[in-house]
Symmetry: C2
Subunit: 188 residues, 2 copies
DNA sequence: TCCAACATGTAACAAGTTACATGATTTG
DNA sequence: CAAATCATGTAACTTGTTACATGTTGGA
């Protein structure tokens, strides 16, 4: 993988507001999780490291009577590091790994009758994901189709959601086109 | 990551023809590298492991006078494993990691004048990649737009290339739309 | 004859997953 | 009062990257 992306993902989230490890884990289940994610086990060790490196600081927030929730905020150093990272220009496009596409490349080893099964499974998964994303979009931006009035924070969210939605729509479109070719071939 | 995807990527490639570690490394720079890839260092250790596990077998092919090229082929076990893996149904869609989208989510921390710089850099990278993919497409499928006559092996290649091309076109489209919004906002 | 591409490997390290482990709080 | 969710952590292991290391072959 690339150089400490999780570090910057965490710094970026903390730049919006103070969060606990659990909060960060939850964020990765929402919009930004479409483009980066991590399990809680990885997040807790990264937070520990970031704290040691003084990129973030910690304080306790009581949740109920006994539960000490550990909250984190950016330090000056952390803010500086985030800002520098955000301005870095990518040198090349990394492989966007996709197991379904990989499988399909080996099409000749898949029995003909199984091919539509694989496609339909993928269509189902992608359609469900698209619904989830569209719900998220309505929830945050409602019927409002015009993003011109949004502030910078909301606009970041808007871009990421529209990106994820167009990615899934494009994926589904390609699946349908390809399945069409498969069906026409079979009746050759 | 998921369970030994590299193993199956290698088995799949070897199912097309016998290859050396170097050949496999080269394949990951072409079409299939859009959806899965690995460095030679990882490939050589995986080949060693696959050989020990009897999923592949090895023989020597002289390349020149001294150079012993190590060729690998699938064993019966390897073929069986590949076939089973190809029929597995995905249970969920994995995060397709994208650093540019991640950065953009943190838009509010990017100075306004730097935003178009980031977009233009990404547009350049994606446009270059699209050109590469279209060249690959012409090379393999020429002016021929009709895939109905292709055999299973060529069709797998066709699907993967059209997938990669539509992914990049869609990406560029979203970049242009988003940059448009940015420009309109600035002159608000 | 030089240089790019061909060819193969190991070591150290970083990143990511799965499983184990425990306890508190909220909601029905 | 039970179950779901909130909340935090560690250990073992797998996967992936970067750097180190070396030698051959083909073409300009």
């Amino acid at each position: 993988m690339s150089r400490r992306i999780l570090k910057y993902a965490i710094l970026g989230l903390l730049s919006k507001e103070d969060m606990s490890g659990y909060d960060i884990t939850s964020e990765f289940k929402k919009a930004i999780g479409q483009f980066w994610s991590a399990k809680h086990s990885q997040i807790y060790v990264e937070l520990k490291k970031l704290l040691e490196e003084n990129s973030i600081s910690q304080y306790i927030k009581m949740a109920g009577v006994k539960l000490e929730k550990k909250m984190y905020s950016l330090t000056t150093k952390g803010k500086e590091e985030l800002r520098n990272w955000l301005l870095e220009l990518d040198k090349n496009v990394e492989t966007e790994k996709d197991i379904f596409a990989l499988r399909l490349y080996f099409l000749k080893d898949i029995p003909t009758e199984e091919i539509p099964v694989l496609f339909n499974n993928q269509l189902k998964l992608r359609t469900e994901k698209l619904s989830f994303l569209k719900e998220q979009f309505s929830f945050h931006f409602g019927g409002e189709k015009n993003p011109l009035h949004l502030d910078a924070e909301a606009l970041g969210h808007y871009f990421v959601l529209t990106k994820a939605i167009s990615r899934e729509e494009n994926y589904i479109n390609w699946l349908n086109k390809s399945l069409d070719i498969i069906n026409k071939q079979e009746s050759r």
